[in-house]
């Protein structure tokens, strides 16, 4: 219990003093995970839409693949991206391994199935008649799809939150493709693991608390947006 308290107080102290190293780690965590979530959204939402309203052969197969991907272990995603980005790998010339960009790519791999899977479920909740009506009222194809997404915006925000939550908290891929390099690719999760390895449990818990706090803040903003929308819609 003493350690948890120590971690809690040192987390508060680090945040209050705006400790430069902690701030750097915190901003990088946010930047990487938010970017990965945006990429996941840009890919996952259209895929979810395709599965939800599209009718094509292999649709159920794709859905099963997406749902399996929702359980993709971060370490496997990390290993895959490492193999791609290795100097001897297909994308080796870009020298991207051990950069924040590599971390965004790996985390996007993790978040995309989450976003796509939950989006599919969200969009399938919308009555198919709704889109037929929209088309009947003279809306274009894209417009009708947009209206379907609008109708499902509350569960779609849940998809965003799941994607973000999945990547801000993962450590396997961040370590493998980022390397936990000081001032370059050290994020809250990898810093916490390193402090644990060095026996500094208080510092590790502090990083864990800060991670929880910022994850909470981001999700709070999204939740407020979600609930505000519903009030506004009413």
């Amino acid at each position: 219990m003493g350690l948890i308290w120590e971690g809690f107080t040192s987390a508060l102290r680090l945040l209050w003093n705006r400790d430069p190293e902690t701030m750097e780690i915190l901003w990088l965590s946010l930047r990487v995970s938010l970017s990965a979530t945006v990429v996941a959204l840009l890919i996952g939402l259209p895929v979810g839409m395709l599965i939800a309203v599209g009718r094509f052969p292999g649709r159920k197969l794709l859905l099963a693949a997406v749902n399996t991907g929702m359980g993709l272990p971060p370490v496997v995603a990390g290993l895959f991206v490492t193999l791609l980005l290795w100097r001897s790998g297909p994308l080796g010339a870009a020298a991207l391994l051990y950069t924040p960009t590599a971390m965004i790519i790996a985390q996007a791999f993790i978040a995309t199935p989450l976003v796509a899977g939950i989006s599919t479920a969200a969009l399938q909740q919308v009555d198919p008649e709704f889109r037929t009506q929209m088309l009947g009222l003279g809306a274009g194809r894209l417009r009708s799809l947009y209206e379907v997404a609008r109708e499902a915006r509350l569960p779609l925000l849940a998809a965003v939150m799941a994607g973000f939550g999945g990547v801000i908290s993962e450590v396997g891929a961040a370590t493998m493709v980022g390397g936990n390099i000081k001032h370059q690719t050290r994020v809250l999760t990898t810093a916490a693991v390193q402090q644990t390895a060095m026996g500094n449990f208080g510092a590790a818990i502090a990083y864990g608390m800060i991670l929880l706090a910022i994850a909470f803040l981001v999700v709070l903003v999204l939740t407020l947006a979600q609930q505000h929308q519903s009030l506004w819609a009413r």
């Binding site: 945006v38 100097r87 080796g92 390397g179 936990n180 390193q194 644990t196």
Partner: protein, 296 residues
């Protein structure tokens, strides 16, 4: 109308993502293609990284040389495997057997950098009585005879390979419920040993760094057969076409320079009262061992 606003939002988000990708590759971490030879990848054994030595030395090297170093802390086995594939430019390792293979294929050259020693640690009650042992293999043999709990790294790291060599010397094939493999780094393995009140083999630097939280005691130490030698190995172009040969060499030269060797000899004195590593530039492992045997 609102459709247009939302499309604009999406476009801004996409642009922000691209910008963040762009800025990360333009950041001082400086990537920018294989022609850019200002980037050095250093694969190091975790014990050297966790000691904090590199946090002190790497920034000095970067200022002096203009290179940017990416320090990847992994076990010696993985570090040397990375070197063999040309994924690292220079390695700090403490695994003589595996290093020899890499040097013999011409994929790296090797120089002795520094040493400290391994220690067998465990609960201060010393249930297997290894304090009375006279050599490393004897200490392990006593643990096996008592079937006292022992946590092995089990990860092909330098420490793990040293441990396996000692079991061989003891004529013991460790197996049974008393012998457990953690598959993790030194720090975590010490934590597990502490929680299970078990013995484990550790490098002195990591033991000292985790001593307060583990509460384990050194129960066997000090004989020449516990020597732990760290080497620096610049990787050659033979390992891969994208290896930054001159960058790796520059880092090795820096580590072996008299000023840095002196710094290594001082490192840790303020925090632990003793230096964590003894500098050894210009010596061979055999010479160090002979000196220790004489002194002992």
């Amino acid at each position: 109308m609102s459709l247009r606003i939302h499309t604009a939002c999406a476009a801004v988000l996409a642009a922000a993502t691209l910008a963040s990708c762009g800025s990360s590759s333009n950041s001082p971490s400086g990537t920018g293609g294989s022609s850019d030879n200002k980037l050095v990848i250093l694969a190091t054994t975790t014990s050297v990284q966790d000691s904090g030595l590199l946090d002190q030395l790497v920034p000095e090297f970067q200022t002096q040389s203009g290179y940017t170093v990416k320090t990847i802390a992994v076990g010696s086995g993985e570090a040397l495997a990375m070197a063999g594939r040309g994924e690292a430019d220079v390695v700090i390792a403490h695994d003589p057997e595996t290093e020899k293979k890499l040097v013999s294929t011409g994929e790296a050259t090797q120089s002795v950098l520094m040493h400290n020693d391994f220690v067998v640690i465990g609960p201060s009650s010393d249930p297997a009585g290894i304090k009375q042992a006279t050599r490393a293999a004897d200490a392990l043999k006593r643990i096996a005879e008592k079937q006292a709990a022992f946590i092995s790294r089990g990860d092909k790291s330098g420490t793990n390979n040293f441990e396996l060599k000692q079991w061989k010397a003891a004529g013991v094939t460790p197996s049974g419920s008393w012998y457990q493999e953690s598959g993790q780094g030194m720090g975590q393995t010490i934590t597990i040993a502490s929680q299970k009140q078990a013995y484990t083999l550790a490098d002195r630097a990591t033991y000292l760094a985790t001593k307060d939280s583990s509460g384990l005691a050194i129960l066997y130490e000090g004989t020449p057969d516990m020597l732990n030698v760290y080497d620096v190995l610049p990787v050659t172009g033979k390992a891969g076409s994208r290896v930054n040969v001159s960058g790796g060499k520059a880092f090795a030269k820096f580590m072996l320079s008299p000023a840095v060797q002196k710094e290594i000899g001082q490192f840790g004195k303020d925090k632990y009262g003793i230096a964590l590593f003894d500098p050894d530039a210009g010596q061979t492992a055999q010479q160090i061992e002979q000196e220790l045997a004489k002194a002992g």
